[in-house]
Protein backbone atom coordinates (compact mmCIF):
# COMPACT_ATOMS: atom_id res chain seq x y z
CA UNK A 1 0.00 0.00 0.00
CA UNK A 2 1.39 3.42 -0.90
CA UNK A 3 1.81 6.18 1.69
CA UNK A 4 -0.99 8.14 0.01
CA UNK A 5 -3.44 5.25 0.11
CA UNK A 6 -2.51 4.53 3.75
CA UNK A 7 -3.21 8.17 4.62
CA UNK A 8 -6.52 8.03 2.79
CA UNK A 9 -7.48 4.85 4.66
CA UNK A 10 -6.59 6.43 8.01
CA UNK A 11 -8.59 9.51 7.20
CA UNK A 12 -11.59 7.36 6.45
CA UNK A 13 -11.25 5.17 9.50
CA UNK A 14 -10.44 7.78 12.16
CA UNK A 15 -13.63 9.86 11.94
CA UNK A 16 -15.76 6.73 11.56
CA UNK A 17 -14.27 5.29 14.75
CA UNK A 18 -14.76 8.60 16.53
CA UNK A 19 -18.33 8.53 15.32
CA UNK A 20 -18.99 5.12 16.94
CA UNK A 21 -20.30 6.88 20.08
CA UNK A 22 -22.80 9.67 20.48
CA UNK A 23 -21.95 11.84 23.47
CA UNK A 24 -23.77 14.49 25.40
CA UNK A 25 -22.16 16.69 28.02
CA UNK A 26 -23.85 18.93 30.56
CA UNK A 27 -22.43 21.17 33.25
CA UNK A 28 -24.72 22.77 35.80
CA UNK A 29 -24.48 24.67 39.09
CA UNK A 30 -27.18 24.74 41.72
CA UNK A 31 -27.27 26.53 45.09
CA UNK A 32 -27.17 24.16 48.10
CA UNK A 33 -26.40 26.31 51.14
CA UNK A 34 -27.51 23.80 53.79
CA UNK A 35 -26.51 20.52 52.20
CA UNK A 36 -26.62 17.84 54.86
CA UNK A 37 -26.15 14.71 52.78
CA UNK A 38 -25.31 13.70 49.24
CA UNK A 39 -26.59 10.33 48.01
CA UNK A 40 -25.60 9.12 44.55
CA UNK A 41 -26.76 5.94 42.81
CA UNK A 42 -24.64 5.65 39.69
CA UNK A 43 -24.82 2.22 38.00
CA UNK A 44 -23.88 3.53 34.57
CA UNK A 45 -20.27 4.66 34.79
CA UNK A 46 -17.61 6.54 36.73
CA UNK A 47 -18.35 8.79 39.66
CA UNK A 48 -16.04 11.46 41.04
CA UNK A 49 -17.05 13.36 44.17
CA UNK A 50 -15.12 16.39 45.36
CA UNK A 51 -15.80 18.32 48.54
CA UNK A 52 -15.41 22.05 48.09
CA UNK A 53 -15.97 25.23 50.07
CA UNK A 54 -18.61 26.70 47.79
CA UNK A 55 -22.26 26.58 49.04
CA UNK A 56 -23.43 25.03 45.78
CA UNK A 57 -23.42 21.76 43.92
CA UNK A 58 -21.92 21.36 40.47
CA UNK A 59 -22.84 18.32 38.41
CA UNK A 60 -20.97 17.47 35.27
CA UNK A 61 -22.40 14.58 33.29
CA UNK A 62 -21.08 12.94 30.14
CA UNK A 63 -23.40 10.45 28.46
CA UNK A 64 -22.25 8.01 25.80
CA UNK A 65 -24.29 5.68 23.62
CA UNK A 66 -23.89 3.99 20.23
CA UNK A 67 -26.70 6.09 18.72
CA UNK A 68 -28.80 9.15 19.42
CA UNK A 69 -31.97 7.28 20.33
CA UNK A 70 -30.18 5.22 22.97
CA UNK A 71 -28.48 8.36 24.23
CA UNK A 72 -31.89 9.88 24.83
CA UNK A 73 -32.79 6.93 27.07
CA UNK A 74 -30.01 7.83 29.52
CA UNK A 75 -31.27 9.93 32.41
CA UNK A 76 -29.91 11.74 35.44
CA UNK A 77 -32.40 12.33 38.24
CA UNK A 78 -31.67 14.98 40.86
CA UNK A 79 -33.79 15.57 43.93
CA UNK A 80 -33.30 17.79 46.94
CA UNK A 81 -35.24 18.46 50.09
CA UNK A 82 -34.18 19.73 53.51
CA UNK A 83 -30.54 19.71 52.55
CA UNK A 84 -30.61 16.11 51.32
CA UNK A 85 -29.42 15.76 47.77
CA UNK A 86 -30.13 12.57 45.81
CA UNK A 87 -28.62 12.02 42.38
CA UNK A 88 -29.49 8.90 40.44
CA UNK A 89 -28.58 7.76 36.94
CA UNK A 90 -30.61 5.30 34.96
CA UNK A 91 -32.12 4.21 31.69
CA UNK A 92 -35.65 4.85 30.47
CA UNK A 93 -36.97 1.41 29.57
CA UNK A 94 -40.61 0.71 28.71
CA UNK A 95 -41.51 4.22 29.76
CA UNK A 96 -39.98 3.76 33.21
CA UNK A 97 -36.79 5.08 34.78
CA UNK A 98 -34.65 2.09 35.78
CA UNK A 99 -31.44 2.55 37.75
CA UNK A 100 -29.53 -0.46 36.41
CA UNK A 101 -26.16 -1.18 34.82
CA UNK A 102 -25.99 -1.70 31.05
CA UNK A 103 -23.05 -2.38 28.78
CA UNK A 104 -23.91 -0.46 25.63
CA UNK A 105 -24.32 3.01 27.16
CA UNK A 106 -22.57 5.02 29.86
CA UNK A 107 -22.89 8.10 31.99
CA UNK A 108 -19.86 9.49 33.79
CA UNK A 109 -20.56 11.91 36.62
CA UNK A 110 -18.41 14.44 38.44
CA UNK A 111 -20.05 16.13 41.40
CA UNK A 112 -18.59 18.95 43.48
CA UNK A 113 -20.49 19.47 46.70
CA UNK A 114 -20.05 21.28 50.02
CA UNK A 115 -17.51 19.52 52.25
CA UNK A 116 -19.95 19.22 55.13
CA UNK A 117 -22.29 16.89 53.23
CA UNK A 118 -22.34 13.29 54.40
CA UNK A 119 -21.66 11.19 51.33
CA UNK A 120 -23.38 7.93 50.41
CA UNK A 121 -22.42 6.81 46.91
CA UNK A 122 -22.79 3.62 44.89
CA UNK A 123 -21.44 2.65 41.50
CA UNK A 124 -21.51 -0.58 39.54
CA UNK A 125 -18.47 -1.24 37.35
CA UNK A 126 -17.43 2.40 37.16
CA UNK A 127 -14.66 3.71 39.39
CA UNK A 128 -15.68 5.75 42.40
CA UNK A 129 -13.43 8.57 43.63
CA UNK A 130 -14.19 10.73 46.66
CA UNK A 131 -12.08 13.36 48.36
CA UNK A 132 -12.28 16.46 50.49
CA UNK A 133 -15.35 15.72 52.63
CA UNK A 134 -15.52 16.10 56.39
CA UNK A 135 -18.67 14.29 57.55
CA UNK A 136 -17.68 10.76 56.59
CA UNK A 137 -18.62 8.68 53.57
CA UNK A 138 -20.14 5.38 52.52
CA UNK A 139 -18.63 4.37 49.18
CA UNK A 140 -19.61 1.21 47.34
CA UNK A 141 -18.81 -0.30 44.00
CA UNK A 142 -21.18 -3.23 43.54
CA UNK A 143 -19.20 -4.83 40.72
CA UNK A 144 -15.69 -4.32 39.36
CA UNK A 145 -15.30 -0.60 39.91
CA UNK A 146 -12.41 0.68 42.00
CA UNK A 147 -13.00 2.80 45.07
CA UNK A 148 -10.59 5.60 45.96
CA UNK A 149 -11.07 7.82 48.97
CA UNK A 150 -8.64 10.42 50.26
CA UNK A 151 -8.61 13.38 52.60
CA UNK A 152 -11.85 12.51 54.32
CA UNK A 153 -12.74 13.33 57.92
CA UNK A 154 -15.19 11.09 59.72
CA UNK A 155 -15.98 7.42 59.35
CA UNK A 156 -15.45 5.88 55.92
CA UNK A 157 -17.24 2.69 54.94
CA UNK A 158 -15.97 1.27 51.68
CA UNK A 159 -16.88 -1.76 49.60
CA UNK A 160 -15.88 -3.03 46.21
CA UNK A 161 -17.12 -6.36 44.93
CA UNK A 162 -14.09 -7.21 42.78
CA UNK A 163 -12.31 -3.90 42.28
CA UNK A 164 -9.38 -2.45 44.21
CA UNK A 165 -9.86 -0.04 47.07
CA UNK A 166 -7.48 2.77 48.03
CA UNK A 167 -8.17 4.63 51.23
CA UNK A 168 -5.66 7.30 52.10
CA UNK A 169 -5.52 10.12 54.64
CA UNK A 170 -8.72 9.13 56.39
CA UNK A 171 -9.20 10.94 59.68
CA UNK A 172 -11.76 8.65 61.24
CA UNK A 173 -12.76 5.00 61.58
CA UNK A 174 -12.54 2.81 58.51
CA UNK A 175 -14.55 -0.24 57.51
CA UNK A 176 -13.54 -1.69 54.16
CA UNK A 177 -14.66 -4.97 52.70
CA UNK A 178 -14.75 -6.75 49.39
CA UNK A 179 -14.90 -10.14 47.80
CA UNK A 180 -11.88 -10.38 45.52
CA UNK A 181 -10.31 -6.95 45.12
CA UNK A 182 -7.19 -5.75 46.91
CA UNK A 183 -7.33 -3.07 49.62
CA UNK A 184 -4.64 -0.41 50.09
CA UNK A 185 -4.75 1.61 53.30
CA UNK A 186 -2.45 4.50 54.14
CA UNK A 187 -2.37 7.21 56.79
CA UNK A 188 -5.45 6.12 58.69
CA UNK A 189 -5.88 7.66 62.13
CA UNK A 190 -9.33 6.85 63.52
CA UNK A 191 -10.12 4.64 66.51
CA UNK A 192 -10.90 1.43 64.63
CA UNK A 193 -9.66 0.12 61.30
CA UNK A 194 -11.35 -2.99 59.99
CA UNK A 195 -10.77 -4.39 56.52
CA UNK A 196 -11.92 -7.73 55.16
CA UNK A 197 -11.69 -9.40 51.79
CA UNK A 198 -12.23 -13.01 50.83
CA UNK A 199 -9.54 -13.33 48.16
CA UNK A 200 -7.84 -9.95 47.84
CA UNK A 201 -4.66 -8.73 49.48
CA UNK A 202 -4.73 -6.07 52.18
CA UNK A 203 -1.80 -3.71 52.50
CA UNK A 204 -1.74 -1.13 55.30
CA UNK A 205 0.97 1.45 55.97
CA UNK A 206 1.35 4.33 58.39
CA UNK A 207 -1.74 3.35 60.32
CA UNK A 208 -2.00 5.00 63.74
CA UNK A 209 -5.37 3.51 64.64
CA UNK A 210 -5.23 1.69 68.01
CA UNK A 211 -7.54 -1.17 66.97
CA UNK A 212 -6.70 -2.85 63.67
CA UNK A 213 -8.48 -5.92 62.34
CA UNK A 214 -7.47 -7.14 58.90
CA UNK A 215 -8.66 -10.35 57.27
CA UNK A 216 -7.89 -11.18 53.66
CA UNK A 217 -6.13 -13.42 51.18
CA UNK A 218 -2.79 -12.00 52.30
CA UNK A 219 -1.88 -9.20 54.71
CA UNK A 220 0.95 -6.67 54.77
CA UNK A 221 1.34 -4.12 57.58
CA UNK A 222 4.11 -1.54 57.34
CA UNK A 223 5.01 1.12 59.89
CA UNK A 224 5.10 1.71 63.62
CA UNK A 225 2.86 -0.03 66.12
CA UNK A 226 0.85 2.27 68.31
CA UNK A 227 1.39 2.13 72.05
CA UNK A 228 -1.48 0.15 73.58
CA UNK A 229 -2.61 -0.92 70.12
CA UNK A 230 -4.34 -4.23 69.31
CA UNK A 231 -3.69 -5.79 65.94
CA UNK A 232 -5.50 -8.87 64.66
CA UNK A 233 -4.31 -9.94 61.23
CA UNK A 234 -5.57 -13.09 59.48
CA UNK A 235 -4.59 -14.32 56.02
CA UNK A 236 -6.76 -17.03 54.51
CA UNK A 237 -4.65 -17.75 51.44
CA UNK A 238 -1.25 -16.10 51.71
CA UNK A 239 1.25 -14.68 54.18
CA UNK A 240 0.89 -12.24 57.02
CA UNK A 241 3.90 -9.96 56.69
CA UNK A 242 4.79 -7.09 59.02
CA UNK A 243 7.56 -4.59 58.37
CA UNK A 244 8.02 -2.81 61.68
CA UNK A 245 10.37 -0.31 63.24
CA UNK A 246 12.07 -1.88 66.27
CA UNK A 247 9.87 -1.19 69.30
CA UNK A 248 8.42 -3.42 72.05
CA UNK A 249 5.45 -5.67 71.22
CA UNK A 250 3.73 -8.90 72.26
CA UNK A 251 2.85 -11.48 69.65
CA UNK A 252 0.75 -14.62 69.33
CA UNK A 253 1.20 -16.11 65.87
CA UNK A 254 0.20 -19.28 64.08
CA UNK A 255 0.85 -20.35 60.51
CA UNK A 256 0.31 -23.40 58.33
CA UNK A 257 3.85 -22.68 57.09
CA UNK A 258 6.43 -21.04 59.32
CA UNK A 259 6.52 -18.14 61.74
CA UNK A 260 9.75 -16.22 61.12
CA UNK A 261 10.90 -13.16 63.05
CA UNK A 262 13.75 -10.73 62.49
CA UNK A 263 13.19 -9.54 66.07
CA UNK A 264 14.75 -11.34 69.05
CA UNK A 265 11.61 -12.77 70.62
CA UNK A 266 11.36 -14.26 74.12
CA UNK A 267 8.72 -16.83 75.03
CA UNK A 268 7.29 -19.98 73.46
CA UNK A 269 8.73 -20.29 70.00
CA UNK A 270 8.03 -23.17 67.62
CA UNK A 271 8.44 -23.29 63.81
CA UNK A 272 4.78 -22.55 63.10
CA UNK A 273 3.58 -21.15 66.41
CA UNK A 274 4.80 -18.31 68.63
CA UNK A 275 3.61 -16.78 71.90
CA UNK A 276 6.29 -14.27 72.79
CA UNK A 277 7.34 -10.69 73.49
CA UNK A 278 9.91 -8.36 72.04
CA UNK A 279 11.77 -6.00 74.40
CA UNK A 280 9.45 -6.86 77.29
CA UNK A 281 6.18 -6.58 75.41
CA UNK A 282 3.86 -3.79 74.27
CA UNK A 283 1.15 -3.49 71.61
CA UNK A 284 -0.56 -6.82 71.08
CA UNK A 285 -0.28 -8.70 67.77
CA UNK A 286 -2.49 -11.69 66.98
CA UNK A 287 -1.38 -13.12 63.65
CA UNK A 288 -2.64 -16.11 61.69
CA UNK A 289 -1.86 -17.46 58.24
CA UNK A 290 -4.12 -20.39 57.37
CA UNK A 291 -2.24 -21.21 54.15
CA UNK A 292 1.04 -19.36 54.38
CA UNK A 293 3.73 -17.90 56.61
CA UNK A 294 3.80 -15.25 59.30
CA UNK A 295 6.81 -13.00 58.72
CA UNK A 296 7.96 -10.33 61.17
CA UNK A 297 10.51 -8.14 59.41
CA UNK A 298 12.33 -4.97 60.37
CA UNK A 299 11.42 -1.90 58.37
CA UNK A 300 14.36 -0.57 56.39
Amino acid sequence: MTRASTLLALLLVAPAAARADETEENFVYMPAPNSESLTVDQPLGRLTLNGWDSPEVRIHSVKRAPDGATLDKLKVSVEMRDGKIHVQTGVRVGGQFRSMPVQSAKIDLTIDAPRGAKVNATTWSGDLNASGFRAGAVLESLSSGEVRAREIQGKVVSHSHTGRQWLEAIHGDVEADGESGDVELAHIDGDVLEAKTVEGQIRARQVTTPVVRLQGGGIVLIGTLRSGGRYQLIALDGDVRLELKPAPFSVVAQASGRVASAFALRGKIAPSQVDAVYQGGGPSLVLRADRGDVLLQQQR
Partner: protein, 204 residues
Protein backbone atom coordinates in the same frame (compact mmCIF):
# COMPACT_ATOMS: atom_id res chain seq x y z
CA UNK B 1 -55.56 -20.11 43.75
CA UNK B 2 -52.05 -21.28 42.84
CA UNK B 3 -48.81 -19.73 44.10
CA UNK B 4 -47.81 -16.68 42.05
CA UNK B 5 -44.75 -14.54 42.69
CA UNK B 6 -46.12 -11.87 40.39
CA UNK B 7 -49.33 -11.55 42.39
CA UNK B 8 -47.38 -11.46 45.65
CA UNK B 9 -45.18 -8.77 44.22
CA UNK B 10 -48.22 -6.76 43.10
CA UNK B 11 -49.78 -7.22 46.53
CA UNK B 12 -46.65 -5.95 48.27
CA UNK B 13 -46.63 -2.95 45.94
CA UNK B 14 -50.33 -2.26 46.59
CA UNK B 15 -51.05 -2.68 42.89
CA UNK B 16 -53.80 -5.30 43.17
CA UNK B 17 -57.52 -4.40 43.09
CA UNK B 18 -59.21 -4.94 46.47
CA UNK B 19 -60.94 -8.17 45.47
CA UNK B 20 -57.75 -9.75 44.05
CA UNK B 21 -55.75 -8.55 47.06
CA UNK B 22 -58.22 -10.25 49.42
CA UNK B 23 -57.99 -13.47 47.39
CA UNK B 24 -54.18 -13.46 47.49
CA UNK B 25 -54.16 -12.71 51.22
CA UNK B 26 -56.48 -15.65 51.86
CA UNK B 27 -54.09 -17.89 49.94
CA UNK B 28 -51.07 -16.50 51.82
CA UNK B 29 -52.67 -17.43 55.15
CA UNK B 30 -52.67 -21.09 54.16
CA UNK B 31 -49.41 -21.30 52.19
CA UNK B 32 -46.09 -21.21 54.04
CA UNK B 33 -44.00 -20.62 50.90
CA UNK B 34 -46.07 -17.63 49.82
CA UNK B 35 -46.12 -16.24 53.36
CA UNK B 36 -42.31 -16.32 53.44
CA UNK B 37 -42.04 -14.76 50.01
CA UNK B 38 -44.51 -12.01 50.84
CA UNK B 39 -42.57 -11.29 54.01
CA UNK B 40 -39.38 -10.97 51.95
CA UNK B 41 -41.09 -8.67 49.46
CA UNK B 42 -42.51 -6.50 52.20
CA UNK B 43 -39.19 -6.30 54.01
CA UNK B 44 -37.60 -5.29 50.72
CA UNK B 45 -40.24 -2.61 50.35
CA UNK B 46 -39.48 -1.39 53.86
CA UNK B 47 -35.77 -1.44 53.14
CA UNK B 48 -36.36 0.66 50.07
CA UNK B 49 -38.60 3.02 52.01
CA UNK B 50 -35.78 3.42 54.52
CA UNK B 51 -33.61 4.80 51.77
CA UNK B 52 -35.63 7.96 52.22
CA UNK B 53 -36.51 8.69 48.65
CA UNK B 54 -37.38 12.32 48.41
CA UNK B 55 -40.27 13.46 46.24
CA UNK B 56 -39.59 16.44 44.05
CA UNK B 57 -41.17 19.74 44.91
CA UNK B 58 -43.08 20.91 41.87
CA UNK B 59 -41.03 23.14 39.62
CA UNK B 60 -38.11 23.59 41.98
CA UNK B 61 -34.74 24.66 40.76
CA UNK B 62 -33.61 21.09 41.27
CA UNK B 63 -36.25 19.80 38.91
CA UNK B 64 -35.09 22.33 36.36
CA UNK B 65 -31.58 21.04 36.93
CA UNK B 66 -32.73 17.49 36.23
CA UNK B 67 -34.39 18.70 33.07
CA UNK B 68 -31.20 20.41 31.97
CA UNK B 69 -29.23 17.25 32.60
CA UNK B 70 -31.72 15.26 30.54
CA UNK B 71 -32.67 17.67 27.79
CA UNK B 72 -33.50 15.92 24.56
CA UNK B 73 -31.39 17.99 22.17
CA UNK B 74 -28.18 18.64 24.02
CA UNK B 75 -24.89 20.01 22.82
CA UNK B 76 -23.62 16.70 21.55
CA UNK B 77 -19.93 16.21 20.94
CA UNK B 78 -19.01 17.42 17.52
CA UNK B 79 -17.40 14.37 16.03
CA UNK B 80 -16.99 16.17 12.76
CA UNK B 81 -14.74 18.71 14.44
CA UNK B 82 -12.51 15.85 15.40
CA UNK B 83 -12.65 14.64 11.81
CA UNK B 84 -11.85 18.08 10.50
CA UNK B 85 -8.77 18.23 12.67
CA UNK B 86 -7.48 15.21 10.83
CA UNK B 87 -8.83 15.96 7.43
CA UNK B 88 -6.10 17.21 5.25
CA UNK B 89 -7.81 16.06 2.10
CA UNK B 90 -11.29 17.53 1.62
CA UNK B 91 -12.45 14.66 -0.55
CA UNK B 92 -11.50 12.12 2.12
CA UNK B 93 -13.28 14.19 4.76
CA UNK B 94 -16.42 14.26 2.69
CA UNK B 95 -16.28 10.49 2.37
CA UNK B 96 -15.72 10.14 6.11
CA UNK B 97 -18.68 12.41 6.88
CA UNK B 98 -20.82 10.41 4.54
CA UNK B 99 -19.63 7.18 6.13
CA UNK B 100 -20.35 8.49 9.61
CA UNK B 101 -23.82 9.66 8.64
CA UNK B 102 -24.51 6.28 7.10
CA UNK B 103 -23.31 4.47 10.24
CA UNK B 104 -25.49 6.66 12.43
CA UNK B 105 -28.66 6.22 10.46
CA UNK B 106 -28.06 2.59 9.68
CA UNK B 107 -27.66 1.44 13.30
CA UNK B 108 -30.93 1.04 15.20
CA UNK B 109 -31.34 2.15 18.82
CA UNK B 110 -30.42 -0.37 21.47
CA UNK B 111 -33.76 -2.00 22.27
CA UNK B 112 -35.30 -2.05 25.76
CA UNK B 113 -35.07 -5.84 25.75
CA UNK B 114 -31.36 -5.69 25.01
CA UNK B 115 -30.76 -3.15 27.79
CA UNK B 116 -32.60 -5.37 30.25
CA UNK B 117 -30.64 -8.41 29.04
CA UNK B 118 -27.40 -6.47 29.58
CA UNK B 119 -28.41 -5.57 33.12
CA UNK B 120 -29.34 -9.18 33.83
CA UNK B 121 -25.96 -10.31 32.51
CA UNK B 122 -24.19 -7.82 34.80
CA UNK B 123 -26.18 -9.02 37.80
CA UNK B 124 -25.52 -12.69 37.05
CA UNK B 125 -21.76 -12.07 36.80
CA UNK B 126 -21.74 -10.34 40.18
CA UNK B 127 -23.90 -13.12 41.60
CA UNK B 128 -21.35 -15.73 40.48
CA UNK B 129 -18.55 -13.92 42.34
CA UNK B 130 -20.61 -13.83 45.53
CA UNK B 131 -21.39 -17.54 45.26
CA UNK B 132 -17.71 -18.35 44.72
CA UNK B 133 -16.64 -16.23 47.70
CA UNK B 134 -19.27 -17.87 49.88
CA UNK B 135 -18.19 -21.35 48.80
CA UNK B 136 -14.63 -20.53 49.78
CA UNK B 137 -15.56 -19.14 53.19
CA UNK B 138 -17.99 -21.98 53.82
CA UNK B 139 -15.23 -24.52 53.14
CA UNK B 140 -12.80 -22.68 55.45
CA UNK B 141 -15.39 -22.49 58.21
CA UNK B 142 -16.45 -26.11 57.74
CA UNK B 143 -12.84 -27.16 58.26
CA UNK B 144 -12.62 -25.14 61.50
CA UNK B 145 -16.04 -26.36 62.64
CA UNK B 146 -14.78 -29.89 63.27
CA UNK B 147 -12.71 -28.60 66.19
CA UNK B 148 -15.52 -26.59 67.81
CA UNK B 149 -17.40 -27.75 70.91
CA UNK B 150 -20.93 -29.05 70.32
CA UNK B 151 -22.81 -25.95 71.62
CA UNK B 152 -20.91 -23.71 69.23
CA UNK B 153 -21.50 -26.10 66.33
CA UNK B 154 -25.20 -26.12 67.14
CA UNK B 155 -25.42 -22.32 67.23
CA UNK B 156 -23.42 -22.05 64.04
CA UNK B 157 -25.65 -24.52 62.18
CA UNK B 158 -28.81 -22.71 63.29
CA UNK B 159 -27.47 -19.31 62.25
CA UNK B 160 -26.23 -20.67 58.94
CA UNK B 161 -29.62 -22.23 58.16
CA UNK B 162 -31.40 -18.95 58.94
CA UNK B 163 -29.05 -16.98 56.70
CA UNK B 164 -29.37 -19.54 53.89
CA UNK B 165 -33.14 -19.27 54.13
CA UNK B 166 -33.12 -15.47 54.04
CA UNK B 167 -30.77 -15.47 51.04
CA UNK B 168 -32.99 -17.95 49.22
CA UNK B 169 -35.98 -15.69 49.76
CA UNK B 170 -34.08 -12.71 48.35
CA UNK B 171 -32.99 -14.83 45.39
CA UNK B 172 -36.62 -15.74 44.68
CA UNK B 173 -37.56 -12.06 44.75
CA UNK B 174 -34.69 -11.16 42.40
CA UNK B 175 -35.72 -13.91 39.98
CA UNK B 176 -39.29 -12.66 40.00
CA UNK B 177 -38.08 -9.16 39.09
CA UNK B 178 -35.59 -9.44 36.23
CA UNK B 179 -33.09 -6.57 35.97
CA UNK B 180 -34.52 -4.85 39.02
CA UNK B 181 -31.54 -3.12 40.60
CA UNK B 182 -33.24 -2.81 43.98
CA UNK B 183 -34.16 -6.49 44.18
CA UNK B 184 -30.59 -7.39 43.19
CA UNK B 185 -29.21 -5.00 45.81
CA UNK B 186 -31.30 -6.80 48.41
CA UNK B 187 -29.91 -10.17 47.27
CA UNK B 188 -26.34 -8.87 47.27
CA UNK B 189 -26.89 -7.47 50.75
CA UNK B 190 -27.99 -10.94 51.87
CA UNK B 191 -24.82 -12.44 50.36
CA UNK B 192 -22.72 -9.86 52.19
CA UNK B 193 -24.40 -10.65 55.48
CA UNK B 194 -23.52 -14.31 54.94
CA UNK B 195 -19.93 -13.40 54.07
CA UNK B 196 -19.65 -11.25 57.19
CA UNK B 197 -21.04 -14.13 59.26
CA UNK B 198 -18.41 -16.58 57.98
CA UNK B 199 -15.63 -14.02 58.37
CA UNK B 200 -16.71 -13.47 61.97
CA UNK B 201 -16.56 -17.22 62.60
CA UNK B 202 -13.03 -17.30 61.20
CA UNK B 203 -11.98 -14.34 63.37
CA UNK B 204 -13.24 -15.93 66.62
Amino acid sequence: MTCSTEKLSALADGDLPARDAARVRTHVETCDACRRELAALESMKLALADEGRIPLEPRTGWQQLAERLNKETPARASWWKLGARWALVPAALALAVGGGWWRHHRSPAVSDDQLIAEAESEFRQADAVYVRALDKLRAATEHARTAWPEPRRHDFDAAQAALDGATEQCRAVARARPADGQAEALLFDAYRKQIAFYQEQILR
